[in-house]
Symmetry: C2
Subunit: 242 residues, 2 copies
């Protein structure tokens, strides 16, 4: 992990860009004498375009006393294209435009390669981040591609709680894997998200094996998660990471 | 409205039993120099048996600076029996025991007479409560039979926000009425509530016409609403009644 830039934001928060091999990432740390817990911040890909929203979330994390970090998704931003996913995305656009059903085959080709590649990358990033002097566990996850979050919750024992956003396609195999998740979950769903299959989101929530899981569904469309739902997600993380 | 008893609880909270015509009720008020908002506290019927849980909720309301009140449901507690509802309840027990489906007819006969009778009673209670010197609006509703809460939200303009508990049967006609509800709603659902039809609860949430509505679903069975879900419901009321 190599830091490539450093910037002081408001309230003493330090934003550092880094590379982890070929993968770009950003780390935000609050001013703190003691090591702080870490939130892995999920996102839909494209750190550049997501930056303003990620900074807002990172400042919220810092105010609670957490570090937060994001790494670029495979095939997104300045990373090399991911042709198999690009192809699936083109197929998805085609069937949506034609009003045809989105098949399991398209969802698998769109999401599974991302999961297979991103999850080991996030785990490697976690190794590097937890080796930094100012950061310790517990580790939480917040948002991003829900299939990636689900797999990460199954395979990564250092993850202690996760806020998941049920706003993207879920392959059937991931729905099965969800039964193995046992950490506390707080699942956000935008009830009237036109681009999302609500029943699939409810099926995924049902499948999670966690004893403590909350579904928090709100109005406002895909990008309209209300501020109070964001606050509730923050309170969930605070409950489990402090 | 006649007060029949008065008791000082902890933190200066005053508990007063009252009768409103033939209907018994309880009012809890916090110590306050200024008039306070009011929460109507719903319940499944039987003020006597519900008393410990109602007191706990009332103390929570008082800590937030609200008065709270409950009246007995028709046919419950010491009120005269409600034969048509008793008969429907016997039919419900019979079909549940036999593993037969719960028909719309049984749900209608079980719930609609309660709604028809209880809603005007709650409105009369509201008239009397808001005429007391220490109580003013805004008025919120918290819990109880969800069909009663839905009708009340449609017909009672003084109600400004409602926490509803999706834990009891909903007649189809009430599902239709739900489209007319426009006040902010916070709907609690116990995801693994064996005695409750989850799909019906989701259909009801979907039907509500409110622009701001939140579904907060948790694990723990019908009576196991987790403390953090109670807190989230309290925060919703605080957002809308202050």
């Amino acid at each position: 992990m190599h830091f490539t830039s450093e910037k002081h934001l408001e309230n003493g928060v330090l934003e550092r860009e880094f590379t982890l091999g070929e993968i770009p990432g950003i780390l935000w740390t609050p001013e703190s004498a003691a090591p702080v817990p870490l939130i892995l911040m999920g996102h839909p890909g494209g750190l550049g375009g997501m930056h303003p929203r990620l900074v807002a979330r990172a400042l919220g994390c810092a105010a609670e006393g957490y570090a937060s970090a994001a790494i670029e998704l495979p095939g997104a931003g300045d990373r090399p294209r991911f042709p198999v996913v690009d192809e699936a995305r083109a197929d998805l656009r085609r069937v949506l435009k034609a009003g045809e059903p989105v098949t399991d085959d398209i969802i698998d080709r769109l999401v599974l390669p991302l999961v297979e590649t991103a999850v080991p990358e996030w785990r490697t990033a976690l190794d590097a981040l937890l080796a930094l002097p100012g950061i310790r566990g517990p580790v939480g996850l917040s948002g991003g591609v829900i299939a990636i979050g689900t797999r990460l919750a199954v395979v990564e024992p250092r993850l202690e709680a996760a806020v998941l956003f049920a706003g993207s396609y879920v392959p059937r195999s991931i729905l099965e894997e969800a039964r193995q998740v046992s950490i506390p979950l707080h699942v956000l769903l935008q009830w009237d998200d036109e681009g999302n299959d609500r029943q699939q989101a409810l099926d995924l929530f049902d499948a999670f094996g966690s004893k403590e899981k909350t579904l928090n569904a709100n109005m406002g469309g895909h990008t309209g998660v209300p501020w109070f739902a964001g606050e509730a997600a923050g309170r969930f993380l605070a409950r489990h990471l402090k």
